[in-house]
């Protein structure tokens, strides 16, 4: 035990000595939470639009003003010829162009029907769909007022309710994701790199000839990173609760316990990588390609899993972060009890056991 503790102390010194790295490790969650919380939103608003108004009558004016006044649109340009439409898109100045034909108001008054064309830049299909939808709604609202609220017979009204996240904040999905991302980074990448570093700089040999059992040496390397990760989880939870107003609906001890389980999973992963790899650059790339990208891509927090082709959906089952993400989202946002997430927990625990066993079995006392 004493041996182990002194090894742990050595690792802490290593980390403490490199203040910049420590700063980044502790500051990263703060920066990420702020970015995800405030800057990233899939909600579409303030989209730049341009109009090509051949009619220039009170009706078209009114519709343009209403579009501009809504929170979804900002008017950036008034075009005069059809050729300009293409230019506006090619310069990336507008996402939508609304075209009114000649005699718009007259048509509306006499023929009872007037056409409007909405051209959307569909490079981003979702934004295009959403904007077309918003613009149509604004126009229909105008029409309702134009008709002076004459009520139509047989109207089906819809009432909508957004469960769990009434304001459609992106943060709700992101916070659990950021936790798993940070843990992967700190535990897996950093741990694997510190072990490999000792190999690369040759100090591993010194450690191996010492009377400390190698397993203890390696476990000691993991301890400080586990601690940093735990601090990170707590700081992420505190920040999301107090700054981002993300509720924690479930039990906090359960959340922390699941966090600890995932920390151990990540550490085992990192140790496994470090047993098979010999240079830091490679360790970094493997952590990045084999772990970090799948964590972002396949855990379901950034991209919806159900949209993926079957192969990827199957692959996503072996990504630990996917299960952890489900647990955190369930407990934190939906307020589910342990009885609802025990399966995911069990799967995570199983993965951890396998990874840890593989890492310990693979660990060689002798250097090649």
């Amino acid at each position: 035990m004493k041996q182990f503790l002194s090894c742990v102390r050595k690792e802490f010194k290593h980390i403490w000595r490199d203040k910049q790295t420590l700063l980044i490790l502790l500051g990263m969650p703060v920066a990420l939470i702020l970015i995800f919380g405030f800057a990233l939103t899939t909600e579409v608003k303030n989209s730049r639009f341009a109009v090509l108004d051949y009619a220039k009558d009170p009706s078209t004016r009114a519709i343009i003003n209403e579009l501009d006044a809504s929170r979804y649109f900002d008017l950036v340009a008034e075009l005069h010829t059809h050729n300009e439409v293409e230019k506006v898109f090619q310069r990336g100045q507008a996402k939508v162009v609304v075209i009114f034909p000649h005699g718009f108001a007259t048509d509306l008054e006499h023929v009872n029907k007037a056409p409007i064309q909405i051209i959307a830049d569909a490079s981003d299909p979702n934004v295009a769909n959403t904007l077309t939808g918003y613009a149509t709604t604004v126009m229909m609202d105008y029409l309702d007022r134009y008709k002076e609220g004459r009520k139509l017979p047989l109207t089906i009204k819809t009432e909508q309710r957004m469960l769990y996240n009434p304001q459609l904040k992106g943060t709700y999905a992101f916070v659990p994701g950021v936790i798993s991302m940070i843990l992967m980074l700190v535990c897996t990448m950093m741990t694997s790199i510190t072990v490999v570093r000792e190999k690369e700089t040759g100090t591993m040999e010194v450690l191996l000839v010492s009377p400390v059992p190698p397993v203890k040496l390696i476990l000691a390397k993991a301890v400080p990173y586990a601690l940093i990760s735990f601090i990170n989880i707590v700081s992420i939870l505190l920040m999301s609760y107090f700054i981002l107003d993300v509720p924690i609906r479930g039990s906090v001890p359960l959340l922390l316990a699941e966090g600890v389980l995932f920390i151990i999973t990540c550490l085992s992963f990192g140790l496994l990588i470090s047993t098979v790899i010999n240079t830091q650059q490679l360790a970094m790339f493997v952590s990045l390609v084999a772990l970090f990208l799948p964590t972002i891509m396949l855990s379901g927090f950034f991209f919806p899993i159900e949209n993926m082709p079957t192969v990827l959906q199957v692959v996503s089952h072996v990504v630990p972060a996917r299960w952890f993400y489900q647990v955190v989202r369930g407990v934190m946002i939906q307020g589910l009890p342990f009885s609802a997430v025990w399966q995911e927990t069990l799967i995570l625990a199983g993965m951890t056991t396998v990874l840890l066993a593989a890492a310990l079995k693979n660990f060689k006392i002798r250097l090649a």
Binding site: N112, A122, P153, E159, Q281, A340
Partner: protein, 372 residues
């Protein structure tokens, strides 16, 4: 010039000597382009719907049939209890609940008005928003059919209508991959460029070989150029591989000219490499360099408008995208590849990135010290 030639020879040898790194350089683009576009698919379809039908009338059944045949929705459950439907939401088996109240048909016909309640699991905001609006437009259509059934409309309709005709340019099939793949190419160049360079000089520091260079009469800018050029060449090769894969797998052929893409990429790579080198001259260990690069890289990528629209960001973040080279490249790639913009349209972007390239590289040359 001769010095530079020898330095380049050395750097290229060092890169090609390490088969592992070389493999990573070439496997990374393939893996990323193979996987990411499939994963990064925000297209909303197959929304799983639980229907609570408290009416069980002809109309309610017709409406449900219309919704399920639309192709956007999968009927997950057809029940009469809201509680059961809500359980489906809690366990993620359903994304939305449509609740048709009791006496829906009777109210509609007798009172001329009936209400349908839509609830969506809004943790995934995009899905909830688009799902609700799809559902509303189907209900609106259905409403029209019901009206037609009851009211004989005269030929020249007395009802005033706006005939809104949407059209989608540049991506009429609404294929999400067309949008993501150009962005992923940007990510690729950025990852390879910044990581490899940022770890490069530090590695020499860590291994001690930098001392040997420092005692030679090699000039500072020679040294930095020697580090820069090989990765610049590698970056352009990777871009070529990436464009090839994009064509092979996703049939994406840039609408604009290749010359524009390569010109911009060449300038952009200088900026990214300069940024990597700058970190490398400051860092004292590879681990530190890696972490710093990663940290900044993540902020740059997230705030580049790659995954979420820049227009929706708050003002401070939009301001940040103006000093973020990644944001420029993402925009340029999408402009050129999808819309065929030419040099004239993107001249502002090129100039901005050129300024970054000059500043970052000069800074790297200045801050690289031959003394430790």
């Amino acid at each position: 010039m001769r010095t530079l030639k020898f330095l380049l020879q050395k750097e290229f040898r060092q890169i090609f000597r390490d088969p592992a790194i070389l493999r990573v350089i070439f496997i990374l683009p393939v893996v990323q382009l193979l996987l990411l576009p499939w994963a990064a698919d925000y297209e909303v379809r197959n929304v799983k719907l639980a229907v609570v039908d408290g009416d069980r009338s002809t109309y309610s059944r017709q409406l449900v049939a219309k919704i399920t045949s639309s192709g956007y929705f999968q009927l997950d459950q057809y029940t009469h209890s809201y509680k059961e439907a809500f359980e489906e939401i809690e366990t993620n088996r359903a994304d939305m609940i449509m609740e048709i109240p009791r006496h829906f048909e009777r109210d509609l016909v007798r009172d001329n008005e009936a209400t349908i309640l839509l609830s969506a699991n809004a943790i995934n905001g995009v899905k909830a928003g688009l799902g609700t609006s799809y559902l509303q437009s189907i209900i609106r259509d259905f409403n029209g059919e019901v009206r037609d059934e009851w009211i004989q409309t005269p030929r020249l309709s007395p009802e005033i209508q706006l005939d809104v005709r949407p059209s989608n340019w540049y991506n009429p099939l609404m294929n999400y991959k067309y949008f993501m793949v150009p962005g992923i190419l940007v990510m690729l160049l950025t990852i390879v460029g910044s990581f490899l360079t940022s770890m490069n000089i530090v590695r020499e520091k860590e291994l001690g070989t930098i001392e040997q260079i420092n005692v030679t009469p090699v000039k500072k800018y020679h040294f930095i150029l020697g580090k820069l050029i090989p990765f610049w060449v590698l970056g352009l090769i990777i871009l070529t591989i990436g464009l090839f894969i994009a064509w092979l797998l996703y049939g994406i052929v840039p609408v604009g000219s290749f010359f524009t893409i390569y010109l911009f990429a060449a300038v952009y790579l200088l900026a990214v490499l300069g940024y990597g080198l700058l970190i490398s001259t400051f860092a004292s260990s590879q681990q530190q360099a890696m972490l710093a690069t990663f940290f900044l890289f993540m902020i740059f990528i997230l705030l580049a408008g790659l995954f979420t629209p820049v227009d929706s960001m708050p003002v401070w973040a939009q301001w940040f995208t103006r000093i973020n080279p990644v944001a420029y490249f993402v925009e340029v790639m999408r402009l050129v590849v999808l819309k065929g913009s030419g040099l004239a349209e993107i001249s502002r972007h090129i100039l901005s990135v050129l300024v970054f390239a000059l500043v970052l590289n000069t800074w790297a040359v200045v801050s690289y010290r031959k003394r430790s």
